[in-house]
Symmetry: D2
Subunit: 364 residues, 4 copies
């Protein structure tokens, strides 16, 4: 119980704070190491986050008394933790190198950052969809001469509301050919301080830097296959995204129109789709991973759901909530999907990745 | 100047209040008659709206002292106004009949209600797009034995952000075949009291009763042709809509993916589209109607516009603001469009319709 | 465990829904009876709330299958529950009589309504402050010839953020003489549909009907004494209130300036006040009532707390969170206090009252 | 008409942008010079604000083509403008010195910054209250050896909603002795980027750094007298403030409890107070200064006004709107007051100051 020591890099930022908070009562992991910029290094964690603790709960006492390490010094983490969660905010190239340094020192890195999402031998994990992608880690280690260390990452939060529904349909024999997706994204996805309130009160911002590209392409890697030691992207579906920021604290909503890659007579009925979604279960459920939702996809049949304020917290914020399934006048189906962007979409998703990797024996 | 007396039916409701406010300094029209439910009839307008005046400006003094008539009594309006703006909220069938009664009494009805939008000989007017549809009024009058009275209506507010841009392209030789549209609609579109704040703080509601159907079909009537005394719907474009309510006071945003009904080599470039939009002008501009915007379509080139809080009020809230024009990975183009739902989309749009009808000689 | 059957009157409204939700896993109580208006009577609870279930969690399965009774028929509840929680919304005089009818039938009534707050032999309970007021119930029963039934009520939500802090100081020998209080109240306090979002987006409403009077006077009854079978109001403190509605979903904030009824040299230091607050504990804590917070008053020392979004949920939403304790330039001290208006201030407060009454032997 | 050239220092920031926008069609002034940090110097103003223009209107064309000067170089402004509006954001001591440098070079400085508010020979102007304080400028110039240059400043935005009402009463013979004030302040008061939306959605922050001190003390200087070449603070009223940030874009609300410095039988009735407020007029109205409101104090008698969303824009955002006048149970009266913090409270207030100084002959 609670016996595996883990580290959090970037522990003083808002994502790092979420890791520290969410790990407080984790059945397997306990936070044994926190690291941040040199400015914070040497202070206790409580001192380092004083005046900028953003969680609704208190600083976990066990973490409060830890001494903050210098995140730039990977060796400082040696012997202190079995893996690190990377929630660092820094220059992209420097971060890419730094995560590799940790891995090179023998420390597995479960990263929230986007810098390694397109590294071909780094898996972008959604444990209900591509848990087998972790096999690329053996190639990653071999190719780079790493013994114990490795890098695994999570995808962007904007895609997580519809990835499980689309995957479940694909697995049931109903692959998507084309999708047009409009997201209504919460401000917590922009980090802290993030979006100024001057821009968000009584307003919508129809643009998020870099988000549409990620939304359109990351799915292809996640749906890809491991071949020759790297992940080869899937050929589809083709996705076009409109990403909007809306005045919501947590919870990304997606409005999806989807066309199946199937002849007309093979397309699933709405009833079939509902059945596929409600019965969907995957490896994390089978392994009963602590952070896995009981049901990865929750279907709501009320006409006006899902709603962020009502549905984001279902099952620890780890389930996707779908609703408004109906025919599309242009494609085949339309639906709305919701995912908690800081739970499933960020820190708790990262923790689930670590649970999967532990269950698969990738670290002790 | 200001010499044409007009009436407002439903003058105590929020849309009626907007008509009364917006007409305060109109160069052609002056409010000479207000009518509402029997409950308000007989009071002065000031008394009738006391404690429920929702505008940011004072009750116009000239209207304040008017005696409220009973809206159910069409004859009470006779001789008091050259036309009535209908902003009544009541049972749909009763409203349909009542509007016809006013017309039958010889009083033109410019309606905000949806009840006559699908009556084949009633024009659904967007003066920049289908000003020629008013010719159906002569048939309407003849068929029903009406001399001076008639009914003309405005379309739903949810479609007005993208109708002008799509029409301008069509007129330039670039017709749309298919569109997938996601709207982010302001709460003022739901009337008053409308959406409870309990449902709107920190939330999105992915559903508006009846709105998607209107969004998908009204365009076809507006793009239609007058044939045999009725309006025959256009065959396209085919539209699929996702309508959402967001915590915004005024201003509906639409995210549009559009496919042209053209072979690949005939499709317009983004530069061509920009030119079509920025140079678009129509009959209301030519006639210099008082409520017409100088430029019906405003193009913003910043990456993060249009935004309701920044762009809804441009040119009295009568221009459409488009932005984020870019290629669509699935269809041909994507863009965001914004329209002020209570100005262009409701009362001021109704006033512009009256201005057009006046200019075309449909009433004195 | 969970063996005491309880009823909820007004179970289909938003407060009734909260009772049903919050009681789902209660260690002592289980919902065995639900009643509402005749319109809902005869349906299952699931049917009755279909399309208007407002909670973020599912309808508790056990409640979903209950048949809804007619709340106007007190006898229908006989034998079905040991007490009823009254969350009825109806005409005040009728409600007053109806609650008495239930009590007359032998059914204890724990009410959220304001109708009996000024009935002299009905206690207005805040269990941390006046648990001894329940002794008036014996007089209430005797005077009215009731055997087992009685009525007990909870105070208005607007006062609950500062009542415990003021009481704790009073009990420590530092009574308040005068207070000027400004509240910033959440929209959920207005019920459902409550405040229109049109009035609440980008806005503050400096008025809540009847709220200032309640805020100023209910404290005097709660701080009163039981004499001659009725509750005699305390003589102070004198309170002046400014009640505002703000765009917050849950959590009422109060800004308090307070003058002690003490000579200058007897006034407590800020350190003393902090110690009084942080060490405050009362009968509910001693009895370990299931819904009682571990610490009724939580003191936050950060300069910018309490905040509704960060602090309302502490200890099930049952603790008061105070902060910004500092000298007042006009009175003696200033502070900000926060209470969760639908938890402590409404349904969960009612449940705590029932727990207290059970522990005191007022029902079986 | 429009013949006086003026400069804006800090022209690229949000307050500077407001100056540039609000001056676009000013009848006396035209923006002839803009200055900002060295980073922007040398660019055109349009280039310098590209991508960070925050106003709802377009960049005024005349300003767009101006070349941005280096604000640190006061001499660069010589000959280019008759005065400068200072909207600089920089180190306080450096700013204090820099404003003096401009004045020393002969350029009058009308400042939005707080750095000179407590300089005894610098007037803190609210033209309806203390227009005679400008006489201290002659002493200021003499003492410092300045010929044409001088410094005049505006007070903090948090006090402007109640200063005029309190002053009007004082002038009518009803001076205030003590006031307890709670403000509900808009986010635009925090500048840009200001308050993160993560902190403001569904939340209230009961703290604004330094704001309560300003709120409590600046009034005393404004109500002071010019004696011996400096402004001597008034002895009262004694003010205690609670300053809160609320999710409102523009418009600061204050809830005020006020005690008069008068024996009981001399205290004014509510009717008298209403008459004092509605009849209040001052020098800016007499001089018909372009930015002066027709009525400095607007009284609303509806129970639920003033509200930011409804009342902030009255008379160009330059009038104070008061309402909810009623007896205070602790002091004498209570009321709510509203002022537009970026119009009256910032840029347009600064412009009104300049208009007053021009009318009084302090510059050509």
């Amino acid at each position: 119980m609670n016996s595996i020591p883990v580290g959090v890099l970037g522990a003083t930022g808002i994502v790092g704070q979420r890791y520290v908070s969410l790990l407080e009562n984790h059945p397997w992991f306990r936070v044994s190491y926190v690291a941040a910029s040199p400015r914070s290094a040497g202070k206790t964690y409580a001192q380092a986050v004083s005046g900028r603790w953003l969680m609704g709960t208190e600083i976990p006492p066990a973490a409060a008394s830890l001494t903050v390490g210098d995140a730039n010094d990977a060796r400082a983490a040696l012997g202190k933790c079995a893996l690190v969660f990377s929630a660092l905010e820094m220059d992209k190239q420097a971060l890419k190198t730094l995560e590799e340094t940790y891995a090179g020192e023998g420390i597995p890195v479960i990263s929230n950052a986007s810098v390694h999402r397109w590294t071909p031998d780094v898996p972008v994990l959604l444990p209900e969809i591509n848990p087998h992608h972790t096999e690329v880690i053996r190639f990653q280690q071999k190719a780079r001469g790493w013994k114990k260390g490795f890098i695994a990452v999570k995808p962007n939060c904007s895609i997580q509301s519809y990835m499980a529904p689309v995957h479940a349909l694909n697995q049931a024999g109903f692959p998507a050919a084309r999708m047009i997706v409009t997201t209504l994204q919460a401000v917590s996805g922009a980090g802290y301080p993030g979006v100024p309130s001057f821009d968000m009160i009584d307003n919508v911002i129809p643009f998020i830097q870099g988000e549409e590209e990620k939304t359109e392409t990351e799915a292809l890697k996640i749906f890809g296959t491991v071949e020759g030691g790297v992940i080869v992207n899937a050929g589809g579906p083709l996705i076009s995204a409109h990403c909007n920021r809306v005045p919501v604290s947590d919870g990304h909503t997606a409005c999806v129109s989807l066309e199946f890659a199937l002849p007309k007579d093979k397309k699933p009925s709405l009833e079939t789709i509902e059945r596929v979604w409600t019965s969907f279960s995957a490896l994390p459920q089978e392994l009963a991973l602590p952070s896995a939702p009981a049901h990865p996809i929750i279907l709501r049949r009320e006409p006006n759901r899902p709603q962020p304020a009502r549905d984001r917290d279902v099952d620890k914020g780890m389930a996707v909530v779908v609703g408004r399934l109906r025919p599309c006048r242009v494609f085949d189906i339309r639906f709305a999907a919701l995912s908690h962007n800081t739970r499933r979409g960020a820190a708790l998703g990262g923790i689930l990745n670590a649970e999967l990797l532990k269950a698969q024996g990738f670290f002790d």
